[in-house]
Each structure stands twice: as structure tokens, then as C-alpha cells.
């Protein structure tokens, strides 16, 4: 097996020397803001390199389509493949397909279920999803504590329920509450999905407001929904300094909302860093070089104090 890998790597390496390296990229979906930054990160780095061609495909959130794309990449003889998995539990088939053909494979952003058993010429570049919701929730607790509260009512906005990040970030909130890391007692009034969307969050928040239950914070699985909630609260005349609003992603719109004093917490996930890290690993593997198989890019907490550092990041 090792011999086969080595010889494949050599063939690939030689082919790479003769012509441009081709990297096939299959993204889970194109119309997601964070993944767009990641995708553009890959593209821009590749553009700046001599003799590197990337071909990016949109799996449109369809597991079967993604596997077909990978097989198509293999059939057209790419030097390496980068996959941003639609479903992290469906990655074994991708690993098998690429390893049978001897093509290096790098998973990016979403951690594959088989991350600990990847063959030598495969790797994962991403972040530990459990960090994001934890950082977010602990900061909300700190802010509530600083405001002198011992008990707080919160609403939770969840992303798409079929999405792992949404499930994990929501779980993080509960974990922080249970672990005692939170200095205040959080009382979740209701948690509902707004499918990552600003418009749905705006409607959901307005529905919550119509019940008139007093609350202290809104914890959202992403920034878009947090902004939707802010727009709804402002429309109903709520004072934003009385409510803690937290999101994840540190998008440009979110930083703008933070500058306006509406958003209090967000978490930065280095999309461009993950993209360039994945491309770097893919090219190294294509040349037959060894890479670290699990590269973790940490999340960073963003607050009004350090937000300027992230102004040009996403």
C-alpha cells in the first residue's frame, strides 16, 4: 500500500512538474456567506501562484452530488481534491474513492467523521466547532454578569436543524449552562430555528416580542440571524443597550452592527485561513510531501474592543 502511494505520489509529482497542478474543489454550497469567503480564499491564493489551477464545483448541499463531483475530478485526472463536506458523516465514501484512485484529498472547514482514520495522503483543515458556541455563550454570561444580573432570560436562534454547526453551537449553549462556567443562571425562554436567514429571524423575533415576555439576551447560531433579531427589536422600539445580542461569523454586516452598538458578541472563524491552509496541504500532498493530518485553525472572540482587528478579515 505504501509503495503504491509512494509511486502514485511520484507520478503525480512528475506530472505536476511538467504542467500546471490541477486541484478540484467541491464546496458544500455557494450561497453561504462564510463558505464564500473560504472559497474566495482558495481562489485568490491559487491565482497568485504560478502553475496552479483550481476548479471549484458547487455541491448544492447534496451529499450524492458531492460524491459524483469527486469521482468526476478523479476521472479527469486532477492532482488533488479539496472537499468541504455537505454532511460530515458521509465522508468515508469520499475517502475511499480518492484513496482507491491514489488522489490526495483534503477536507476543509467541516470535520469528517473519519478524521482519525484518514489514509496518509488525506488531511483535514478546519476549526473545532465546539469552540464557537462556547466562546459566544461565555462572553454573553460575562456581559450579563457585568450588568449585575444573577439570572437572565434568553432566546436562542438556531440555524438549519439538519446542519451540524447549528446543532453543535446550540449544544454549546446548553453545555456552558450545565458546566457552571456561566456566572449567571441562564433561563432559555424558547429556542427556534430561523434557518440561518436574516428574514426568518426577523419574523421569528417579532413573534417572540409579541408575547411580551421580558428577556435579557439573544444568542444566535450565526450573525445573519442575530442581525435579523436586531432589526426586529429596533423596529419595535427596544433599546439595544438593554439587550445582549450574540452571533457567530464576524461577517462584515455583523461588524457594522457591532460598530453601531447593536451587536455585542460575535466569533471569528478564519475562513480565508482555512481555505489557504487546505490548498497548501493539497499541493504538498500532490507533490508527495507529508503534511499534518489535522490542522486546527482556532476561533477568535470578537467584541467592540477588538473588532477593528477583524475589519478586513471577512
Amino acid at each position: 500500500m505504501k509503495n503504491l502511494l509512494l509511486s502514485t505520489a511520484m507520478v503525480v509529482g512528475m506530472a505536476g512538474g511538467a504542467s500546471a497542478e490541477t486541484v478540484g474543489v467541491s464546496m458544500a454550497l455557494f450561497d453561504d456567506n462564510f463558505l464564500t469567503v473560504l472559497r474566495n480564499g482558495i481562489q485568490e491564493i491559487a491565482k497568485g501562484m504560478e502553475g496552479v489551477d483550481v476548479q471549484i464545483e458547487d455541491a448544492q448541499n447534496d451529499v450524492a452530488r458531492q460524491l459524483d463531483q469527486i469521482n468526476n475530478f478523479i476521472a479527469s485526472g486532477v492532482d488533488a481534491i479539496i472537499v468541504n463536506p455537505v454532511d460530515t458523516s458521509a465522508t468515508q465514501a469520499m475517502t475511499d474513492a480518492a484513496s482507491a484512485a491514489g488522489v490526495p484529498l483534503v477536507f476543509v472547514n467541516r470535520q469528517p467523521v473519519n478524521v482519525d482514520t484518514l489514509p496518509d495522503n488525506q488531511a483535514f483543515v478546519g476549526s473545532d466547532e465546539a469552540e464557537s458556541g462556547t466562546l459566544e455563550t461565555i462572553q454573553v454570561c460575562e456581559l450579563l454578569n457585568a450588568a449585575g444580573k444573577t439570572e437572565a432570560n434568553v432566546y436562542v436562534l438556531m440555524g438549519e436543524l439538519s446542519n451540524q454547526a447549528a446543532v453543535q453551537r446550540t449544544k454549546d449553549i446548553h453545555d456552558v449552562m450545565d458546566s457552571g462556567k456561566c456566572k449567571v443562571t441562564l433561563n432559555i425562554i424558547d429556542e427556534q430555528t430561523a434557518n440561518w436567514q436574516r428574514d426568518e429571524a426577523q419574523n421569528l423575533m417579532t413573534n417572540w416580542l409579541s408575547a411580551g415576555t421580558p428577556f435579557d439576551a439573544v444568542i444566535s447560531n450565526n450573525d445573519e440571524m442575530a442581525i435579523g433579531a436586531i432589526q426586529a427589536m429596533k423596529a419595535s422600539g427596544l433599546k439595544m443597550e438593554d439587550v445582549i445580542v450574540a452571533g457567530v461569523d464576524a461577517t462584515r454586516d455583523a461588524l457594522q452592527a457591532m460598530a453601531a452598538g447593536d451587536l455585542d458578541v460575535t466569533v471569528f472563524q478564519d475562513a480565508a485561513g482555512q481555505g489557504s491552509g487546505a490548498l497548501d496541504a493539497a499541493l504538498k500532498l500532490a507533490k508527495g510531501e507529508a503534511v499534518e493530518q489535522k490542522v486546527m485553525v482556532p476561533f477568535q472572540l470578537v467584541t467592540p474592543e477588538n473588532m477593528v482587528d477583524f475589519a478586513e478579515s471577512n
Partner: protein
């Protein structure tokens, strides 16, 4: 055969049995659903669904909830007005959600501000060309033209190549979503001018929806356009033989549906202060569901704009009701699907019953 007061089999005219229009059934369903939420609310939440139970706000009703019930369905409702006309001709429009996404992206990119917090908005789509801070009429006209163009493509394909509406609009559903993503390579388009934002601010979406609904209700009821639409949907061959330009009329109907999609896109992006390539996904199915719940027959020729408006209201009541009851998110979709199917089953049953009277 049924027994009526006027004789066996209803051979004589039974005026009393026909006095209720189709919308009455939908209206009754709406009232029943509201009452169900009111009752469940009293039992489970110890709170009222529609009545005001707070001391710090005045009024008999819970005004905030009444507003959000309509506000949250008004944008898809605008699309549903167009979809209703398409379905009345016996067609279908699957492209409206994607048309909304594409139009929102394109229109919004002409509505961006040049400066944010005193700094130049370098990421505005047309920053390099200096097309920022444009008067609001420009993005609006561009958005409307975008919608009209999409509708025209649908209409021409259906009327002149004779491919089924399902396929023609499915094609545009996929292509328009592609344009939406390509326009900025997936980047969101945010920070509109105050003039553009005003189109979607506060209850403006409801006002626009209401005006359009009244306008099209009158058009469908009192104009030649409306009568021809119903005629084509009831019996296309007969309509053609009676001298109606069926092909031309279909182009017009789909174009109007496209235009309404364009309006919805403008209102949606203005309301959210952003346009994103993923906007409007599944809106076409929600719009079709609103029409169907409102008693529009998918085989064409039967139903009214008023029915669709009531269908939209049922949708809004259900969404708000679920949130009010704090029903688990996982169950909401299951129940919503069951209600859509249930509404059509009821309607079919009612139709068969009324048909058996003749």
C-alpha cells in the same frame, strides 16, 4: 345524487346550497385555526393568542402579533398573487423563488451607499464605477425590469415552444439561481441607501401587498384580462375557439407573475437591508401552497385573489401560532406539511359535494 329541499338529485335549482363562495370555506378555516390557537394558548400558555393581556400596552388586541402575522407573509404573498394568476390559466411557476434571489442581488447592487461611517464602501458592487448613492428609482426600475424579463422568458417558452410550464419554469428556477450566485460570486450585497431601505421599512411590505392584492382582485374580476385568464384555465380549446389569443395572453400572465416576483425581491431586500444569493429559496412552493390553501384549483380556472390572500393569512397565523405555543422547531415543519395537504383534501371533498348537487 343527494337529497335537497328542492327535490332528489338537486334537479331543481337550489339557491341556498350555492350561496357560499369558495372563499367562505377558507375564511371559516382561518377563523377555526385562530380559535384553536386561542384555546390552546389559554390551556397551555395561560395567555391569549390575539387579545392583549399586557398592562403596559393599550388596546383590546395584541397589536404586535396581528402585525407580524401579516408582515411575515406579505412578501411571499406578493409572489403568490402572480402565482395565482398563473395557476388560474392551468399553469405553474416554479421559478419565482429564484427570480426573487436574482432580482434582489441585481437591484440591491444599484442601491448601495458610497460611504459607511465616513469610510468609502469599497466593497460596493459598483464602487469602482462610482455607481453608488444612486436615486432610488434606478434600482427599483432595474429590479422591475429584471422580474419582467424573467416572466417574459417563461411566457414565451410556454406559449410558443409549447413545453409544459413545469419544465419551462423549472429551467428558469435553476438558471436564475445560477445568475444570483454568479452576480457577485456569492458575496452578499448590503448597506442600501435610506431611500431604498424605506421601501421595506416597518409595515410597508404589508401596505404594498394589500394594494397589489386589491388591484389584482379588481383586475381579475372586472377586466377582459381576468375573464380571459379564467376562460383559458377552464377550457383552453374552447377559449381558443372563441377567439382569445391564448398564446399572447399566457405570455402576459407569466410576465405579470415575473413583475410581481421583481416587486417582492425589492421589498424583501429593502426590508432586510441586504441581498444574498440564497434568498427566496423555497418561496415558490410557499407561494403555491398559499394559493392552494386559498382554494385555487391546480387544474386551473377556479379560485380568486381573495382566496389566496386568505391562504396567506392562514400561513401567517400558523407560523405565529406555533411560535406562540413554543412548539418544538422539529415538529413545526411536519405539522405545516400536514396542514397544506389537509387543506387540499378538504377542498376536493367540498368540490365533489357541490358538484354532486347538479
Amino acid at each position: 345524487m343527494s337529497h335537497t329541499p328542492d327535490g332528489v338529485g338537486g334537479l331543481s335549482f337550489d339557491g341556498s346550497g350555492r350561496s357560499l363562495p369558495a372563499e367562505a370555506g377558507v375564511a371559516i378555516a382561518l377563523v377555526l385555526i385562530v380559535l384553536a390557537f386561542e384555546l390552546l394558548g389559554r390551556l397551555l400558555m395561560h395567555d391569549s393568542f390575539l387579545l392583549n393581556t399586557r398592562d403596559n400596552v393599550p388596546g383590546l388586541f395584541n397589536q404586535a402579533r396581528l402585525q407580524i402575522i401579516i408582515l411575515q407573509v406579505s412578501i411571499i404573498g406578493i409572489i403568490a398573487l402572480g402565482v395565482t394568476q398563473v395557476i388560474l390559466t392551468g399553469g405553474i411557476d416554479l421559478s419565482s423563488g429564484s427570480v426573487v434571489g436574482m432580482t434582489a442581488m441585481i437591484a440591491m447592487s444599484f442601491a448601495q451607499v458610497g460611504e459607511i461611517n465616513g469610510l468609502p464602501n469599497t466593497r460596493a458592487v459598483f464602487h469602482d464605477r462610482g455607481w453608488v448613492d444612486l436615486p432610488v428609482i434606478i434600482p427599483v426600475v432595474i429590479g422591475l425590469l429584471c422580474g419582467i424579463a424573467c416572466g417574459l422568458i417563461n411566457g414565451l417558452l410556454i406559449a410558443y415552444t409549447r413545453i409544459p410550464p413545469f419544465i419551462a419554469t423549472l429551467g428558469l428556477m435553476v438558471s436564475a439561481r445560477g445568475v444570483a450566485k454568479w452576480w457577485t460570486q456569492g458575496q452578499p450585497v448590503s448597506f442600501p441607501t435610506p431611500g431604498y431601505a424605506a421601501i421595506g421599512a416597518g409595515m410597508m411590505p404589508v401596505i404594498i401587498f394589500t394594494c397589489l392584492a386589491i388591484l389584482f382582485h379588481l383586475i381579475m374580476k372586472y377586466t377582459v384580462y381576468g375573464k380571459h385568464t379564467y376562460a383559458i384555465g377552464s377550457n383552453e380549446a374552447a377559449a381558443r375557439m372563441s377567439g382569445i389569443d391564448v398564446a399572447g395572453h399566457k405570455v402576459l400572465v407569466y410576465t405579470i407573475a415575473g413583475l410581481l416576483g421583481g416587486i417582492a425581491a425589492i421589498v424583501l431586500s429593502a426590508k432586510n437591508l441586504t441581498a444574498q444569493a440564497g434568498m427566496g429559496v423555497m418561496y415558490e412552493l410557499d407561494a403555491i401552497a398559499m394559493a392552494v390553501i386559498g382554494g385555487i384549483s391546480l387544474s386551473g380556472g377556479r379560485g380568486t385573489i381573495l382566496g389566496t390572500v386568505l391562504g396567506a393569512l392562514i400561513f401567517g397565523v400558523i407560523i405565529s401560532g406555533f411560535t406562540f405555543l413554543r412548539l418544538d422547531a422539529y415538529y413545526q415543519e411536519m405539522v405545516k406539511g400536514a396542514i397544506i395537504v389537509g387543506a387540499v383534501v378538504l377542498d376536493q371533498w367540498r368540490q365533489r359535494r357541490s358538484a354532486s348537487r347538479f
